[in-house]
Amino acid sequence: MPPMISVSALRKTYKSGLVALDGIDLEIEKQEIFALLGPNGAGKTSLISIICGTVGIGSGTVRVGGHDITQDYRAARAMIGLVPQEISLDIFATVWNTVAFSRGVFGRRPDPDYIERLLRDLSLWDKRDRRVIELSGGMKRRVMIAKALSHEPEILFLDEPTAGVDVSLRRDMWALVRSLRDKGVTIILTTHYIEEAEEMSDRVGVIANGRILLVEQTAALMRKFGRRKLTLALQHPLAYIPVDLSPWELELEQQGQVLAYAFDANAEDNGIPALLRRMAELGIDFRDLDTSRNSLEDIFVSLVEQTA
């Protein structure tokens, strides 16, 4: 099966001279959930805006469902629903009207039954006659999603979907994304939270400075970069690391008050039980322990080191 989205040699330079995309090649399969992971300013929004048609293409080609987005833009765009990062709504329109408007603008016949189901799925049915201005921030975001889904797209773009979203909406959103995927929809989301990419996506593309650094199955990426760190706050500061603890390659932090141990979370034996036993034998007490995952920055550092 040909890829749902195929981007090749895509470059984009804004009028300001900013090079937003510097030669992107990317293929996204039908029915996958793809996370575009990268820091702010990496080019995530530029990339999806070009695919969706809200930003002009620089050079290169983009095909959506086999349709070139410049030559055959009608067919390409008809397949896509877009939820932009910012909430942008006609605040005077009612929920029902603004969602029905979106469907019409995409050239679809009115279908009140479909819109009713959509609004019910998004817990917006009770608010259908309310004006957007009366809704809370979370509700407005649901309206944005309803608008994007109003024309039954085969591809859904979610730009930073959970930025500033509360826990219940986040959970609803993930449930919705999964159910859409089960119906055959391809989903592309951008995020700068590694947890989000890990939880949701089948594959992750890491982007920085307008380049794709790698594309990998999410599980494989986590195995590669998912190192964790154990930090132990000591009862009594240590001046140096005892020789008996040298097999663990520990580090002393905060003037000897904290002992840090980086370990591979996916290894069969992560070495922690043995470390703690040995510390007990040596009489090194700790009052608190904590484990943390590699942050996105750590991953970038190691990626850049690898590619350099």
Binding site: Y14, K15, C52, G53, T54, V55, G56, Y73, R74, A75, A76, R77, A78, I80, L82, P84, E86, S88, L89, D90, I91, F92, A93, N97, F101, S102, G104, V105, F106, G107, R108, R109, K147
Partner: protein, 258 residues
Amino acid sequence: MSAAKLNHHAIWTIYLAEMSRMRRTFWQSIATPVITTVLYFIVFGGAIGSRIQHVGGIGYGAFIVPGLIMLTLLTQSVSNASIGIYFPIFTKTIYEILAAPLSALEIVFAYVGAAATKSVVLALIILATATFFTPLHIQHVGWMIAFMLLTAVTFSLFGFIIGIWAQNFEQLAIIPSLVITPLTFLGGAFYSIDMLPQPWRTLNLLNPVVYLVSGFRWSFYGTGEVGVGLSLAFTGMFMAICLTLVWWIFKTGYRLKP
């Protein structure tokens, strides 16, 4: 692109949404021009007009009717169309229009069509209001309607361009108040430009509104300061300029697509 492939669902959706946005402020948008027109009739038609009597064989009250309608058509077309497109750009809801399977032509059809419709409706209301003040006899009804439509569409196109060009509400208001209204006043809405002393009369021939008002007045009374052919040619030329600018805007993505 063939006409059969036009996304008429989308055009109709935007057109209706624009019309309903106007309906929300319907009474305001009618009240202002109607009250203004009544005031013009009282001041120019009643108070001053009673001393002027005739201009080119036409009673002064009747003489100013085409000018008044033109004034409304021009200012309303520009302001409706400019707000119509500026509003979604300002609220950023334009993303949806840009991401939709719509051609530039279809976007222009929908927004300009809605703005032109509204200003023609207002012009007809003013025409009806005028009949309460002065007896009207329209010689060329077909031409009158043609001039009305042509002017509404042309200046709605112009307003569409201004709505995309404007970066704030001040800029949005500046063209109607600083350009359209003065040109209309100077353009012979309330007098015959033949009354002007030289060199103003000749200078005024550079004012495009002169040709609009004159042609429009000709459709009412069969006389105008300039030939009706020239009037049509000028309006057509201005329309062509606006269409070229709109084409350029969509070609380059100017302020719509970075």
